[in-house]
């Protein structure tokens, strides 16, 4: 029933189609007129390339699809096609990304624009196919642009934007769109698919720093003297850090064409008059907005700060919003074992630890976190702040309705939300019928 689709809050410029997050990425690839795709299947990413394959076989997209034997080859083939001068795309998740990790460095170091979707999923063992951000977070160090979508519409829009930004001569670096496994990848939402002519206007023909073609002799990836290697890395950092300006420019233009504003690297919900912030990235920040409303009803002036981009790091925006707050609660759906969640590490350094800060890893391995969980986390953080005056806690792990106060900081007492199912470790392996 077409009329049962809820009316979206954004402007509809083309056709409103109910689709999964993975389909939204595939539609964006089609609109960007990608000419080459290579991939290897892995849950929950597979639908993206299946959908693209379907579009190619139906004649809707003129592209070559290469089925390869591994993810290492998938990105290597995409990279090769891109060096050859065509707009190229691939997608992966979790173990697949881990397997192509070496090639991530090759693509970025070569300054070749390539766009990849990562459907975020836990990395095993133990085996787990559900959402967390461990895979997206390991790409931060590789020289790729990294963005994370909140919903299916954003998955489509960010993919299109990513082609524009990565192929800008001021940037010339590859880019990643992260979207949450199952929560977005397999969940149907209404998505506005802009008309082809709008995207043709937005996306110029492909540009890249050099093209490999037969007859042109050039050595690639050669040994370089250390001082030139370092110059190369300085330029990579400069280009990636200053890509913020290019993203804002492209975002403003995209807003003019579609009515959807991507001129900021972050999204702020009720931030300006807030005393406290909930910060994070990904789909659960939609729940965080509901949590903010609930907390405000209780008299706690919260706001939500969502990082739409992880790299370049939205330094200016984070500081402008966060520096004068009393408390920032940072939600992390991944952990850098032995210290804290990656967003805690990044945001607390950008905020010079001026506000009180609590890092809350949660929802690991796809554990469901609802808006009421996030509201509870916010409430508990304010309680701790009022009890102690100032707090700086790297890891207050939220797990099944309670908190685990873990190192590196000293243990603190917390409340428990409710009783949940918990298994006594002593009972594992016992025969219940004995």
């Amino acid at each position: 029933m077409a009329n049962s689709i809820p009316k979206p809050q954004w402007q509809v410029t083309g056709q409103l189609i109910p689709m999964r997050g993975n389909d939204a990425v595939a539609y964006a690839v089609k609109l960007a007129r990608v000419e080459f795709v290579a991939a290897y299947p892995i849950t929950p990413q597979t639908i993206i390339v299946e959908k693209i394959d379907e579009m190619i076989s139906h004649g809707e997209l003129e592209a070559d699809m290469m089925h390869v034997e591994s993810e290492h080859s998938a990105l290597a083939a995409t990279y090769g096609a891109a060096i050859g001068g065509v707009r190229a795309f691939t997608a992966t998740s979790s173990h697949g990304l881990a397997y192509m990790y070496e090639v991530l460095w090759w693509v970025a170091g070569s300054r070749i624009p390539v766009v990849m979707a990562i459907v975020a999923r836990a990395i095993g063992p133990p085996w787990n196919i559900h959402v967390e951000h461990s895979d997206v977070m390991v790409t931060r160090e590789t020289g790729w642009l990294v963005s994370v979508a909140e919903n299916n519409q954003e998955a489509l829009d960010l993919t299109i934007l990513m082609f524009r930004v990565t192929e800008d001569p001021r940037v010339y670096l590859p880019g990643i769109i992260g979207l949450d496994g199952f929560i977005l990848s397999h969940t149907v939402e209404p998505v506005d698919v802009p008309p082809q002519e709008v995207i043709d206007e937005f996306l110029p023909p492909r540009r890249q720093p050099y093209v490999f073609e037969p007859g042109r002799l050039v050595a690639m990836g050669n040994l370089m003297p250390d001082e030139i290697f370092e110059e190369h890395r300085i330029d990579m950092h400069y280009s990636l850090a200053s890509a913020s300006r290019v993203i804002k420019e492209a975002g403003r233009e995209y807003a003019k064409l579609t009515g959807r504003d991507y001129s900021n690297l972050t999204e702020c919900y009720r931030c300006s008059d807030a005393d406290y912030l909930i910060a994070g990235t990904g789909s659960w920040m939609g729940d965080a907005k509901i949590a903010v409303d609930l907390l405000r009803e209780k008299g706690l002036k919260f706001g939500a700060l969502r990082l739409r981009w992880i790299r370049p790091f939205p330094w200016d925006e984070v500081r402008e919003v966060g520096l004068n707050k009393k408390l920032v609660v940072i939600l992390d759906r991944s952990i850098s074992f032995g210290y804290a969640g990656q967003l805690f590490i990044e945001l607390s350094s950008a905020l010079e630890a001026k506000p009180s800060i609590v890092g809350v890893p949660a929802g690991i391995g796809g554990l469901d976190i609802s808006y009421s969980d996030i509201a509870y986390i916010g409430e508990e953080a304010v309680r701790l702040l009022e009890e102690k005056g100032r707090i700086y806690i790297p890891v207050l792990w939220y797990h099944l309705g309670g908190f685990k106060s873990l190192p590196p900081s000293r243990q603190i007492e917390t409340t428990r939300r409710a009783q949940f199912l918990s298994i006594d470790i002593e009972s594992i392996g016992e025969d219940e019928n004995r």
Binding site: R111, P169, P209, Y210, V218, A219, N222, H232
Partner: protein
């Protein structure tokens, strides 16, 4: 590494981005001959001009020139860039090439 590093040509695009490219020419990775601990040396009278060493050399430092005892083509090795990997010695079917320690005095073919 040594002073050879300054001879290298940089490849920079119009925006000033450093690219990991080098001109495809001799010595684009520096004077790699200094890496050697052993060098391949030819006994010209044994060479049958089969070209296998020329074919297998991974660094393209062997050229075939008509300098053999009967005017036949024999490998001439560019010791400025030969890394001393020994592959040519390994593939030679008549043992015309052998590896000599760099501590031995040099007696290069003329």
């Amino acid at each position: 590494m040594s002073s050879s590093t300054t001879e290298r040509k940089l490849v920079v695009d119009r925006r000033g981005h450093f690219l990991p490219l080098s001109p495809s020419e001799v010595g684009s990775a520096g004077k790699t001959g200094s890496w050697r601990t052993e060098r391949p040396v030819l006994s010209p009278e044994k060479c049958t001009s089969c070209y296998l060493c020329w074919l297998y050399c991974p660094d393209d430092v062997i050229t075939m020139e008509p300098r053999g005892p009967e005017g036949n083509e024999i490998p001439v090795i560019d010791y400025e860039y030969c890394k001393g990997c020994g592959i040519c010695v390994d593939v030679c079917p008549v043992n015309a090439l052998s590896m000599i320690s760099e501590e031995e005095p040099i007696e290069i073919q003329r």
